[in-house]
């Protein structure tokens, strides 16, 4: 029971921070989204030692572990556009499937090479 209360409190704190981030971005007319402001704010507070990792980490880990859930209602929107998608199916499939495959394959292998090269150069 205590664990669940702590979890809910921590999630509540993250909700509060995201609200604060939006507020700050709005107030200061920042060109970046409020969520990014909130990430930077929490990061800075952790770094400065004002916030302790243990105050937020259970809630953060829980939300991150279930990230996909929060995308599902937006993904159901596909049903509204079945005709459009069907009429553009080939092009969309090429860009979305083949394109994404190529992006991942190239950027992944390139980064892997760069990291291995650096490892080889580092003195053991």
């Amino acid at each position: 029971m205590k664990k669940i209360t702590a979890l809910l409190l921590q999630i509540g704190a993250l909700v509060l921070f995201s609200w604060l981030g939006n507020l700050l971005a709005d107030w200061l007319h920042l060109p970046i989204p409020g969520t990014l402001v909130a990430i930077l704010l929490v990061f800075a507070l952790l770094h400065a030692g004002v916030l302790k990792l243990s105050w937020l980490e259970a809630g953060a880990d829980f939300l991150i572990a279930n990230l996909v859930l929060f995308f599902i209602p937006s993904a159901v929107v596909l049903m509204k556009h079945t005709e459009y998608l069907a009429s553009h199916a080939v092009g969309i499939a090429l860009v979305v499937v083949l394109g994404t495959f190529l992006i991942m394959a190239l950027s992944g292998t390139l980064t892997e090479r760069l990291i291995n090269k650096r490892k080889d150069e580092e003195p053991q």
């Binding site: 989204p33 939300l63 995308f71 049903m79 760069l114």
Partner: protein, 230 residues
Amino acid sequence: MIWVMGIFYVLLTLGAYLISKLLYRKTKFLLFTPFLIAPLAIAALLMSTGVEYDTYNHGAKVITKLLQPATVAFAIPLYRYSGLLWKHRKAMLIGIGSGILLSLGTTLLLTAIAQMDAGTVRSLLPHSVTTPLAMLLSETLKGDPQVSVLFTIMTGIAGMVLGPIVIRLFRIKHEVSKGLLLGVGAHAAGTAKAFELGEQEGAIASVVTIVTALLTLLVAPALVSLLGIA
């Protein structure tokens, strides 16, 4: 009565998510990834019972509201692995740059092959960018932001399925490269997949998602006006 149905749609979404998660965990079959199966199952159910998407989303959007605090939660793994991120900043920046250029390049090339109209091309260009910024970019490029959201979601689903295949096929071993390819190719959905692989992969992917979005926002409009796609 409306709020009762609202609760029903929230529970329906939760149920579809939990069942698909269990199914995926038991079978480990990539096409059973919850981000593919759950929305399809819900859409099929709604369409067969004649319920409009907007009616469903009126209730289910409560769940979407948690996306923002869940994204803020990225600050914690970022803080935990800031040393790792800093150490590989150069390799990551090159990897991200190549991913962005390839995303814009393949979109232009493949849409030309498929002979798609300019409007669809402009709406497809932001497809590797995380949703809120993809909408912004689509607007800048004079695409249709609503259509861009659609492509962004489809890219996320494709990336969650393709990411692990790419990692196996090209024998990607390092957690930085794994996180990077998922973040640069499939934004926040890829990041969710990266967190499944490991915390470090997830931290990398979340940074990569953000940097990819911001850099694409800078590069894409210039490229489009340079190539004269208007």
